[in-house]
Subunit: 324 residues, 2 copies
């Protein structure tokens, strides 16, 4: 359905719930909060539905406190559920039982969208769902205030990697310009999204980079973090964030591998630059993921054994049988 | 002088030399090569003047090989010198003697420009000189080819930090959109400019981050690299690049300090986030620089003594006498 028809449908309703996907990221939270704020500016009763917490670096968004992760049920009075940035019903951050007969409008930019709404608007050319929401709010007659613009700008730059990903279009830049004109502190948003870490995570990055080694003439890099690295920094979730990306910064590297010690196995994160398929590498030991980012668990006697196994997989995939 | 008049002046000439500042960065090289390529497309004889090498990560630019650092003299037949992105005559990357009576057109975006040209166009609102050159080439009737667009796009994103710096404007985004429409591989440009390092420099970053420590409740962070850190990685120039910026990523940090062991003293690099003036801190021990980025050499018995001295300066600068 076209965006103008979607706008008309929404405007007819007074009580509207808005939801996004589980494990919400910058785009998910940004476009959800912008939509709720926009609906309220039109005098509507709008609520955020969520059963997951928003990332805590987004506290600067005006309605952040309403994204609590503790409101998974759609209120009885709701006449419409707007689902944003989510490819299928099962991944919505809510209690599915509470949807009942409430009509769902599905607005998304992901290729793999199940078209689960009573009406669907899936624009795969948009770099972020926040781009679509920006256009939609305009069609609904919402004035884009500074706080709405902050939510949308955060969503867009989070999803397009500060205009560096292939998904960025001319339209992305036009919208960025229009959002900037509301007076948002966009350098602050970039700093918070891309240049802010916990002290402990910076130290963890140091430990990982210290372990960095090249194999196959630098085509593959390995980093390794053991249990003690996490324990000594009191990082309990074993989350290594974007550290694996740094291996890829090495000029010659096409395959960056981060290994994390676990109980009887190793967790593997792989990123590839342009030649090899990260998912195919990981599927070879039972993992999965995407072409450029994948992972899984590997059984190995020790970390050197894990590296050997991965190198063998990589060598098999190279057409010219390149080796160390 | 307005840009249209500048365009008219340039179009009258047939032999044109183009130069930028010493220690050229992405914007300097990008706008210089774009200008030369644009002039040639109009049938003019245009040459790059340089006595410094261009950064070697810019080899992807079509005319990179003409930026040799070995052509510091303006040819006798030149009827015009276009000086780009350079605030004063002394910083031009050429033999000043060779300028003689050749008229100089000075095109720049720096606040501190001496207006040294016979004609000057200094637009401090432009995020990069490449922005101005883009507009100028358009006024001269140059078709923006893909290779010209690559040079200009590289210049712009290098100078505006991928659209994150305060200097970014709506105009920056509009130009980015127009350049993208020529079909440039902009994700590659971002990757080369912001996500590519030598393997040894990644290891050096690991060493620095390993040494990271917080003081004054995390308000100040210190990193330290000794001579052995550089020697073991065969990094002879003692260049630590952007490593000092990583200290600033810590949430609580306002002052990031990187200390490098030298012969009888320590080299200091300081970055500040928002509260303190990095230059003022460095001036207190004889250094200098800018508000957010400064440096200098400090005499100290050992690295702990250097840290103590810097902490004392920082504490003096805090209005509330905050301390460790």
């Amino acid at each position: 359905m076209g965006l103008l028809e979607i706008a008309r449908l929404i405007i007819e309703k007074d009580n509207i719930a808005v939801v996004t996907h589980v494990a919400p990221d910058g785009d998910a939270v940004g476009c959800t909060l912008a939509m709720v704020e926009g609906l309220r500016s039109l005098g509507k009763n709008a609520v955020v539905i969520s059963r997951d917490r928003a990332p805590d670096n987004l506290t600067f968004l005006k309605l952040y406190d309403e994204y609590t992760g503790t409101s998974p049920k759609i209120p009885k009075e709701a006449g419409l559920l707007i689902a944003l940035d989510c490819g299928n019903l099962d991944r919505l951050s809510l209690d599915l039982d509470s949807v009942g007969t409430v009509p769902v409008i599905n607005i998304d930019h992901h290729m793999s969208n199940d078209m689960y709404g009573i009406e669907n608007h899936v624009d795969t050319k948009a770099s972020a769902t926040a781009e679509i929401v920006y256009r939609l709010l305009g069609l609904m007659g919402v004035t884009i205030t500074k706080s709405i613009a902050e939510s949308l700008y955060a969503g867009i730059v989070a999803d397009c990697g500060s205009f560096s990903f292939e998904s960025t279009t001319g339209e992305t830049h036009i919208i960025a310009k229009e959002l900037m004109e509301t007076g948002i502190d966009f350098p602050m948003i970039h700093r918070i999204l891309f240049k802010t870490r916990d002290f402990a995570r910076l130290k963890l990055m140091g430990k990982a980079l210290q372990s960095l080694e090249e194999r196959m003439d630098g085509f593959v890099t390995f980093m390794y973090l053991n249990a003690e690295d996490f324990n000594s920094l009191s990082i309990s979730d074993r989350d290594s964030g974007d550290i694996v990306n740094y291996g890829l910064e090495s000029k010659t590297c096409d395959v960056s591998v981060l290994l994390k010690e676990a109980e009887g196995f190793f967790r593997v994160s792989i990123r590839t630059k342009s030649l090899l398929d990260a998912r195919a590498i990981c599927e070879a030991f039972g993992g999965g993921g995407h072409v450029r980012a994948a992972g899984g668990n590997i059984k190995a006697a020790d970390v050197e054994d894990a590296k050997r196994q991965i190198l063998m997989i990589v060598e098999r995939m190279l057409p010219d049988g390149r080796c160390d």
